[in-house]
Symmetry: C2
Subunit: 254 residues, 2 copies
């Protein structure tokens, strides 16, 4: 594998609840004059998946618990928003830097349980949760697009996240279908015939980061990106949930 090309779909429409996202992606691929080949990877920003699945919540209709009210007061935040964060999370890990870092109930470590307030709506009371079951969403979109285009494509759903130790956000894989997410080189040899030590590569996160270069964040948002040329043949398929490391294996939780 020596060459990849990355294409953002231009003029992708705003997605509304219950839109058929797979059909809209296919229409946009056609409008962009892109031909889909076997093995192409289609990366989709979480936001449009959530919108199509109507994961909106109206903060004015949320009844915050006592816990949410207390946290809201201590952090000077809307208790209704805190209530949603609590409902979406297994655990609050920190509020130390006036930012709410949680373990999302799907396992991701993120800020505000990944609940989004930008690029959502003119109505500032509307927020957007992560897809309820992003693995299922990825699998469904993968099967729909593969069937309609008669090409065996792959899907990665991405979200942009902050990282420990590093400034700025990058795009990560939160779910995938029909592609390697983590490949395991342990047991292979280096160029001098020495066994490689622990080397697992987070391929789906690298693909997601590559797509992030074109997706943008502001008013130039392009939520669907296609990567052509990625060789899926060498390693076994696994899901992006394998990229969530458990606490005991996480070298950096000390």
């Amino acid at each position: 594998m020596n060459h990849l090309s990355i294409h953002a779909l231009e003029d992708f429409p705003l997605i509304r609840p219950n839109d058929n996202l797979s059909s809209i992606i296919i229409d946009s691929i056609i409008n962009n004059n892109i031909s889909i080949d076997e093995g192409d990877v289609i990366l989709i920003a979480q936001k449009v998946v959530s919108k199509s699945e109507n994961r909106y919540k109206d903060l004015s209709k949320i009844n915050p618990s006592k816990e949410a009210i207390n946290i809201g007061e201590s952090l000077d935040r809307d208790p209704a928003f805190i209530q949603l964060i609590l409902e979406e999370s297994n655990e609050i890990l920190s509020t130390d830097k006036n930012v709410i870092i949680v373990e999302h109930k799907l396992g991701y470590i993120n800020i505000n349980a990944g609940i989004d307030r930008s690029n959502i709506s003119e109505n500032k009371n509307l927020v957007l949760l992560l897809p309820e079951n992003p693995k299922k969403s990825a699998t469904y979109i993968q099967s729909q697009i593969s069937k309609q285009l008669k090409k065996d494509i792959s899907i990665i759903i991405t979200d942009s996240m902050t990282r420990p130790y590093r400034a700025g956000i990058t795009n990560f894989a939160i779910a995938s279908s029909n592609i390697q997410s983590l490949i395991d080189l342990r047991g292979e040899e280096d160029i001098f015939g020495n066994k490689l030590l622990a080397t697992e590569i987070a391929i789906a996160d690298e693909l997601a980061a590559a797509s992030g270069l074109l997706m943008g964040q502001g008013n130039d948002m392009k939520p669907v990106v296609i990567i052509k040329g990625f060789d899926r043949s060498k390693y076994s398929i696994n899901n992006a949930f394998d990229l969530i490391i458990n606490k005991d294996d996480d070298l950096y939780r000390f």
Copy 2:
């Protein structure tokens, strides 16, 4: 910016101490029949920069300090290797999971101070340190290649690293020249005219991750990758050292 293409240089030679890396990259670009355009980004694995700068150390010639001997005994590791880690680091952050996580003296948080033992040599006593001044290395290579090819190119030096909360390694930017590393969208508006909240994008890390898809880690290692089509015009240039977040600003150090 709607399209990027990524090319790995095939048959890149093994690099020896004092090799002229810029010339070797140019020769390889010619041998690979790649034409370089204004603004192309050339990403180089740290390992070949370090080799050309003769950053090898021979463990059999290291005199470990008492501290290194103690740590070596408690972790069942070669004290000479520990000695090098100590010399390359500001501080050991953790040895809790039988892995040495440090703040490297250049600021990176990494394992074993980024000292490499794979793909180095048949001599198992040889290890390879990070470049002494990767920012200077990037600037020098950038000026040499730009001058010789008469194209204003950009350089990113990359290293693969493990990450908190996520399984597997991805490729990161450890130094850069003549490119944005962190772009700041704060103050821009989303598609509904709402101000974006804190949104800094770690562009150089996304470029590095994209290059990691082609660089490989085992015996297929391709240490130089070219990304074509990246638009440098919109934001101001800054160095990859801006991607190292200080402890107080790091939301995840609580």
